[in-house]
């Protein structure tokens, strides 16, 4: 059993604090993804779990044991690095078996476990090559193989796909997910790519500047972002965030146009409150081109600046109250720049954030 628990974990480099007391409970066999912009402290957090960085304050436990003072080798974890860090002077087989050899397993056990891992990852044909003779995707696979042979309590991944090209990245993403379903283990996975986070995670941990902003299932984080940062970070294209003021039960934009306050948020806003009105492009759709029949919706006529056809949908660039916004057209037809279209704003999907704090006004 390996839950991982972070309690008030702080990391300082000299006087500079880069992780500010984070708390996180990771369940047994859970796939947790730490996501956030570059420099927000994801790797540092992961490396503290691995034992590769000292923990400045707070505690980390793996299973029942506080591991703060244990070296990496005693934490029974394995890690996949961004640059793979395969041992260049060893064959694939030796790379895979290295950990078991260090643990003084007998040759038969090593062979069995290495073959098993090679089988899971489809490495059988590559066993005698050296890392230099492998492609990027194959190296990635060897790195994962090396992680699974030891049957660790937890896998740690630090941006394992970011060195691969786009196509391979999607493919390996699927493989990692399959791997987790096959080899049930706790996984902590770091990425700056929100799509990776959404597709892989049981739970997403959104980080920013050394703080955890939100923890939740992908759908939870997507549908109920707690603040404007999470709202804009998760989802692509990002949520439209428009400054506005609450007046007489309506949300008034800076150009004087208004939409009604969404019914479910009516009693969460004050008259005169400065807010940020948030609406995903999926919920800003030309009439007749929405995903589903809009329930509680408002209508606005908007000028198209640019359209990007993607096949099943077209992304439409427009402006609302002088600010760029993006909408989507499902079941698209050709749209020309300069055209004016009538849009449905799916108000039951709209978000309102307090302008000052950036926090959602929704009650949790």
């Amino acid at each position: 059993m390996a839950e991982i628990t972070l309690k008030d974990v702080v990391k300082r480099y000299g006087k500079v604090e880069v992780v500010h007391g984070i708390n996180l409970d990771i369940a047994h066999n859970e796939f947790v993804v730490l996501v956030g912009p570059s420099g927000c402290g994801k790797s540092t957090t992961l490396r503290m779990i691995a034992g590769l960085e000292d923990i400045s304050d707070g505690t980390i436990s793996i299973g029942p044991e506080v591991v703060n003072d244990l070296p990496p080798r005693k934490r029974n974890i394995s890690m996949v690095f961004q640059n793979y860090a395969l041992y260049p002077h060893m064959s694939v087989r030796e790379n895979l078996g290295f950990g078991l050899k260090i643990a003084k397993q007998d040759a038969a056990t090593i062979k069995r476990r290495v073959d098993e891992a090679a089988d899971i990852l489809g490495l059988d044909a590559l066993m005698d090559r050296t890392p230099a003779e492998l492609s990027g995707g194959q190296r990635q696979r060897v790195a994962m193989g090396r992680a699974i042979v030891r049957h660790p309590e937890a896998f740690l991944f630090d941006e394992p796909l970011s060195n691969l090209d786009a196509k391979l990245r999607v493919q390996m993403r699927t493989e990692i997910k399959k791997l987790h379903q096959k080899v049930k283990t706790t996984v902590v996975y770091v990425t700056h790519d929100q799509v990776e986070a959404m597709t892989l995670a049981d739970r997403i941990v959104v980080m920013k500047d050394g703080h955890i902003e939100q923890v939740g299932t992908p759908m939870d984080v997507f549908n109920h972002p707690v603040n404007t940062f999470v709202a804009s970070f998760i989802g692509s294209p990002p949520m439209n965030l428009l400054p506005a003021t609450v007046q007489n039960g309506t949300v008034v934009f800076s150009d004087g146009k208004s939409v009604p306050v969404p019914a479910r948020l009516k009693d969460r806003v004050r008259e005169g409150q400065e807010v940020i009105f948030g609406l995903r492009p999926d919920d800003l759709t030309p009439v007749g081109h929405g995903i589903a029949e809009a329930g509680d919706s408002a209508r606005v006529a908007l000028d198209i600046i640019l359209s990007e056809p993607l096949g099943t949908e077209t992304i439409l660039y427009t402006t609302i109250a002088g600010q760029e916004a993006q909408g989507k057209m499902f079941g698209p037809r050709n749209v020309l720049p300069g055209e004016t279209l009538e849009f449905d704003l799916a108000m039951d999907k709209a978000h309102i954030f307090d302008a000052e704090s950036g926090k959602t006004v929704r009650l949790d």
Partner: protein
């Protein structure tokens, strides 16, 4: 007007000629020494010069090793042993220090790191001979004159800046994630070093080793000041034994030079396969 191809051709030929001249300048003295080792002393200064020895013989070597009728009273075997002991020991120590220091500079952050590194490099700007007087005075106080240990210490000091610098460069090329991966895989830091980082830096360490060995093996200026007798005299110092007040036994000296060169050549050949281009780093994304 010359066309481009011709110009290029002439340029290439010019380069070859230049290379050839440089090679001649570098090789001829060496060749002369080797040839001279096999000729009688009388032939050395003959006019016009005799290039290829007319009656090549091993007589000079026989003399040196005290075989046969003609003898020189030079204790070459003792010098040879001194040289070997001093060069090997000082190289081993310089490598050990170089590895620890190089690793520290490559892997750790510490105060005054850049200053210390610069200091090491600057220490190499002082010519060794300039230090010979102070070293002589100190060594004579503490009884290290005419002792192998005295020379060993001097050579270690001479070589350490270079070994640190070279080995640091090699460790720097090895991503620190390799050692980290090994530690996660179950190694202690020490094991990770010996099983992963050391093998990968081997070629750099071997290069540093050769350099240090050759420096110590060939060094003359300091050794000639700090040694007196067969207790500590090294081969290069021993070369001077061939000069008498009025005569110089050029042929004997050349034979001795060949004796000095041979172990250096052997060592270089033994180690050279490690020098070739290090390892291809396929372990990380290129």
């Amino acid at each position: 007007m010359m066309n481009g191809a011709l110009k290029k051709r002439l340029g290439a030929i010019g380069l070859w000629v230049l290379t050839f001249i440089l090679m001649v300048v570098m090789c001829v003295p060496g060749l002369w020494v080797v040839l001279t080792a096999f000729r009688p002393n009388g032939e050395v200064l003959a006019k016009p010069p005799v290039w290829i020895p007319e009656n090549p013989s091993l007589l000079n070597f026989a003399k040196i090793f005290g075989v046969g009728v003609d003898q020189v009273a030079i204790p070459v075997p003792a010098y040879f042993m001194n040289s070997l002991i001093i060069a090997l020991t000082s190289t081993a120590v310089a490598l050990l220090i170089g590895m620890s220091g190089g690793y520290a500079f490559a892997r750790y952050r510490f105060k005054f790191k850049n200053g210390m590194f610069l200091g090491l490099m600057l220490s190499r700007t002082v010519p060794g001979i300039a230090l010979s007087l102070p070293v002589f005075m100190i060594w004579s106080r503490i009884g290290l004159i005419d002792a192998k240990l005295g020379l060993i210490i001097v050579y270690v000091a001479l070589n350490v800046p270079f070994t640190i610098w070279l080995i640091d460069g090699f460790f720097r090329q090895i991503p620190k994630e390799m050692s980290e991966a090994a530690q996660v895989d179950g190694c202690t830091r020490w094991q990770a070093f010996w099983k992963i980082e050391f093998p990968l830096a081997k070629s750099g360490i071997a290069s540093a080793g050769i350099f240090a060995f050759l420096t110590s093996w060939n060094e003359y200026a300091l050794a000639s000041n700090l040694t007196r007798s067969t207790d500590s005299k090294t081969l290069p110092v021993g070369l001077m034994d061939f000069t008498a007040q009025f005569t110089i036994d050029w042929a004997g000296m050349s034979a001795m030079a060949v004796i000095i060169i041979i172990p250096a050549l052997i060592l270089t050949f033994l180690v050279q396969k490690h020098l070739i281009a290090g390892l291809t780093f396929g372990g990380v994304k290129g």
